[in-house]
Amino acid sequence: MKTNQWQHRNTNPSNLPLTLQGTLKALATIIALCAVMMLGACHKKTAPPPPPPPPPSVPAPTASISVSPDTVQKGQTSTLNWQTSGATDVSIDGIGAVQASGSQQVSPADSTTYHLVAKGAGGTQEATTRLTVTQPPQPMQATSSPSDEDLFGHSVKDIYFEYDKSDIRPDQQASMQSDVSFLSQHPNINFTVEGHCDDRGSTEYNLALGDQRASSVRTALTSAGISASRIKTISYGKEKPFCMEDNEACWQQNRRGHFVYQK
C-alpha cells in the first residue's frame, strides 16, 4: 500500500504539465483555425458592391398572364387572359405578337407553359402560366380491352384468416361479396383457391389447415351461387409463403385464401 501511495504522489505531478501542454496545444489550434475562418469571411466582405441601378426615366412595363381553367382534358379548351401596361411590344411564345391586353381560347395537345414578354421603353417584363392537359380515360369497350385474366387479377380479392382458424371472419365479408359479384358477372372464368398458412405451425397440420381455408372460401362462393365446377382448391400449407419475415404483419399476409385464374 505504501508503495502504491508513493507512486501515486509521484506520478501525478509529472502528469499535470503534460495535460496542460496538451490543452494549450489544442487551444492554439482552435485559435488558429478561427483566425483562418475569419479571414475567409472578411475576404468575401471586401468584394466590390454591385453598381447602383440607373434611375428610371420611364416606368417599367407591367405584365400578367393567367389561364382558366388551368387543367383540362385533352381536346377541351381553356381561356388565356393577359394584361400589360407601359409596353409597346407584347408577345406570347407559341402564339406570337398579341394585343397589350386580351384573351384567347387555347386547346393544346399536351401540357403547355405560356410565356408572355412585354417590352417597353422602360424595359422588359415577363410572365408565365401553365395549362395542364390530362389524357382522357380509355373507354371500357376499346379495342385493347383487358383480358379476363387481368380483370380477375385486378378485381378478385384474397380472403384473410385469423391464426389457426379457417372460418371467414366478419372483416373479410366485403371482399367476399365483391368476389362473388365479380365471379357471377364473369361466369366463364374458372379459378383455383389456394389455402395458405403462416410458417409458425407444423408442416403436416398446416397443410390440413390450408385445405380447410380453401374449402371455406369455396363453400362461401358456392352458397352465394357460384358453380362448384368452376372452383378448384389446393392447400399450400406453409410451403409457398407470400412473405418471409417473422412478424404478425407478415404472418397475416400468409394466412389467406388466394385466388388464381385458371387458363
Binding site: G201, S202, T203, Y205, A208, I234
Partner: protein
C-alpha cells in the same frame, strides 16, 4: 405423478444449495478478510450445485427408455484397429473404419468409451498381444476391450475383430469376427457398423444395434423438396425422388421395401409410393382431395393417412395397396399425422384441431375410443416408441400472444399421460421419430439457424447434427 415426485427432491436440493450460497454471501459481508474463504466456499457450493444439477438429467432414465439402463454403463476401450498389410489403401479405409466404429459405440448409449488418452502405447491387433493387466486396471480400468486389424489385398478388405472381457482373464473372448468385402470406403463403414451392432447387442441387453438402420427425410438441397435417405449416422446421403414438386412426410414400410410419402401432383396432394428395391415411384391409387401423412401399420398390411376427399381432413385407413379406403374419424376438424402403436398395431395416435389449437389424440385402430392425450398448447407430430409405451411429440406447451413458445420434443407415457421434455431452448423442434432400438430419437430442429436433422438419445442427451446442406426436415427412422 411419479415423475413429478422425482423432480421435487432435486428442487429441494437446489433450494438447500441456494441457502448455502446465501450463507456464503452473508459470511462474505461480515468477515474482515472474507475473499479466499468465501470464494472457496462459493466454488465448492457451485460445484456441488452443478453435481446436483447433473442428477435430474441422468435420472431421466427413470422413464426407462432403455438408454443407460443398468445404471453403470460398461467401460469399453476401443484402441484403433491396425493395418496388417502395407497396401496404400490401408490408411484411408482404416480411418473410415476406426471413426465409424468409435462413433457408433459412442452414440449407442449403452457403453462408456474409455478415453484414448488412457490407453497404453502398445495396443493389441491380435489376441496374443492383449496384456490384461494394462487394460483391466487404472488408468483405462476397462471391463471390455474391442480390438483387431484391417488388411487390404487384391482389391478386398478383410477385418478381424475381437471383443474381450478383460476382467475375465481365463476365458476373455466375447466376440471374434472376420469380415471381408470389396476394398471401398462404404464397405469399411458397413463392416464397422456390423461389428458395432454385434458389440451393442451383447452389451446392451440384447437389443439389436442401429448402426445399419436408415433415416429417410425431406431435403430441398436440389432445388425442390424431395425425399432423401441416409445412414443413421448422417453418411451416404442420397436423393430418392426427383419429382420437381413438393414431396413431404416420408414413411418407410416395416420391411424397408416401400416408402409412402405425400406429394403435390397435378391433381393435388396425393400419397405416392416409392419402391426401394426398384428405385422408382410405383403405382398407388389417387384418392382425390388433400392426402397427407401416410403411416404404416407395424405388420405392413395397412396405411393410415389424412384425406380431405370427403370435405374436411380426416384419418383414413387403406390396405397396403390403397384398397378398402375408408375414414376412421368423422367430421370434426382437421385430423392429420396418424402414428400406429408400433408394438401392438392396435392404437393410432393422431393430431386434431377439433377444439382449436392442434392436440394429440389416440384411438383404437378401428376408430373407436378416441382419447385426448395433451392438455394444452400446440401439440403435433406423434410417434410411437417401438415398445409401445411412449409417444414422442412436438409440443409448444405455452402458446398464445406474448408467449415465446418454442416447439420442443417431449416424451409421453401413453398410459399415464405423464411427460418429460427432451429438448430445451433450441429453436423449433419437430417430427421426432424413434430408432428401432428405442434408445434414439431423430428429429428436425432449427437450432443451428435453419431446419436440419438432429439425433439424440431418448433421454435428450448425446444431441448431434446429421445434415448440414440445404434445409432438411421430417426424418423417419427405418423399422430395423
Amino acid at each position: 405423478m411419479r415423475w413429478e415426485r422425482f423432480v421435487a427432491p432435486s428442487r429441494r436440493v437446489c433450494k438447500r444449495m441456494e441457502d448455502r450460497n446465501a450463507n456464503a454471501r452473508r459470511n462474505h459481508s461480515q468477515a474482515p478478510r472474507p475473499a479466499p474463504s468465501a470464494l472457496r466456499l462459493g466454488a465448492f457450493a457451485f460445484l456441488t450445485f452443478l453435481a446436483f444439477l447433473a442428477i435430474p438429467a441422468g435420472a431421466q432414465d427413470w422413464v426407462r427408455t432403455g438408454s443407460g439402463l443398468g445404471v453403470e454403463k460398461v467401460r469399453l476401450a476401443v484402441p484403433d484397429f491396425k493395418a496388417s498389410t502395407g497396401d496404400p489403401q490401408n490408411t484411408a479405409l482404416l480411418k473410415t473404419f476406426n471413426d465409424t466404429l468409435w462413433n457408433d459405440l459412442d452414440n449407442s448409449g449403452v457403453v462408456e468409451l474409455v478415453s484414448k488418452s488412457f490407453y497404453p502405447l502398445q495396443v493389441p491387433s491380435q489376441p496374443a498381444e492383449v496384456t490384461f493387466g494394462v487394460w483391466n486396471s487404472p488408468p483405462p480400468n476397462a471391463a471390455m476391450l474391442a480390438f483387431g486389424n484391417l488388411a487390404v489385398a487384391a482389391g478386398k478388405v478383410t477385418v478381424q475383430a475381437w471383443l474381450y472381457d478383460v476382467k475375465n482373464t481365463a476365458s476373455p473372448q466375447v466376440l471374434g469376427k472376420q469380415y471381408a468385402d470389396a476394398a471401398t470406403e462404404d464397405a469399411a463403414r458397413v463392416i464397422a457398423h456390423k461389428f458395432a451392432d454385434e458389440i451393442i447387442f451383447r452389451l446392451g441387453g440384447g437389443i439389436p444395434g442401429i448402426a445399419e438402420s436408415k433415416i429417410f427425410f425431406v431435403s430441398d438441397r436440389s432445388g425442390h423438396k424431395e425425399i432423401w435417405m441416409m445412414d443413421y449416422d448422417g453418411s451416404n446421403q442420397r436423393e430418392l425422388t426427383r419429382l420437381g414438386s413438393i414431396s413431404l412426410s416420408p414413411r418407410i414400410s416395416p420391411d424397408g421395401s416401400r416408402l409412402a410419402f405425400s406429394s403435390l401432383t397435378k391433381s393435388g396432394w396425393e400419397v405416392l409410393m416409392y419402391s426401394v428395391d426398384l428405385d422408382r415411384v410405383v403405382n398407388f391409387p389417387r384418392f382425390g382431395g388433400t392426402n397427407l401423412s401416410p403411416a404404416w401399420s407395424p405388420d405392413g398390411s395397412k396405411l393410415a393417412l389424412s384425406s380431405s376427399r370427403g370435405g374436411r381432413s380426416e384419418i383414413y385407413l387403406s390396405d397396403a395397396s390403397g384398397g378398402d379406403f375408408h375414414p376412421l374419424t368423422t367430421g370434426r376438424g382437421p385430423d392429420v399425422s396418424p402414428a400406429w402403436n408400433r408394438k401392438t398395431g392396435a392404437q393410432i395416435a393422431f393430431v386434431s384441431g377439433r377444439t382449436g389449437l392442434p392436440q394429440i389424440y389416440s384411438m383404437e385402430a378401428d376408430g373407436t375410443n378416441e382419447q385426448r392425450l395433451t392438455d394444452q398448447g400446440y401439440a403435433v407430430s406423434p410417434n410411437w416408441s417401438p415398445n409401445g409405451q411412449f409417444l414422442t411429440l412436438a409440443w409448444i406447451r405455452k402458446y398464445g400472444p406474448g408467449e415465446p413458445g418454442a416447439s420442443d420434443i417431449y416424451l409421453m407415457d401413453v398410459a399415464s399421460k405423464q411427460w418429460v421434455q427432451l429438448t430445451h431452448d433450441g429453436g423449433r423442434n419437430d417430427f421426432p421419430s424413434w430408432a428401432p432400438d428405442g434408445r434414439h430419437i431423430v428429429f428436425q430442429s432449427s437450432r443451428s439457424g435453419k431446419e436440419e436433422i438432429w439425433m439424440m438419445l431418448a433421454d435428450g442427451s448425446k444431441l448431434h447434427q446429421l445434415t448440414f446442406t440445404g434445409r432438411n426436415s421430417q426424418p423417419n427412422w427405418s423399422w430395423k
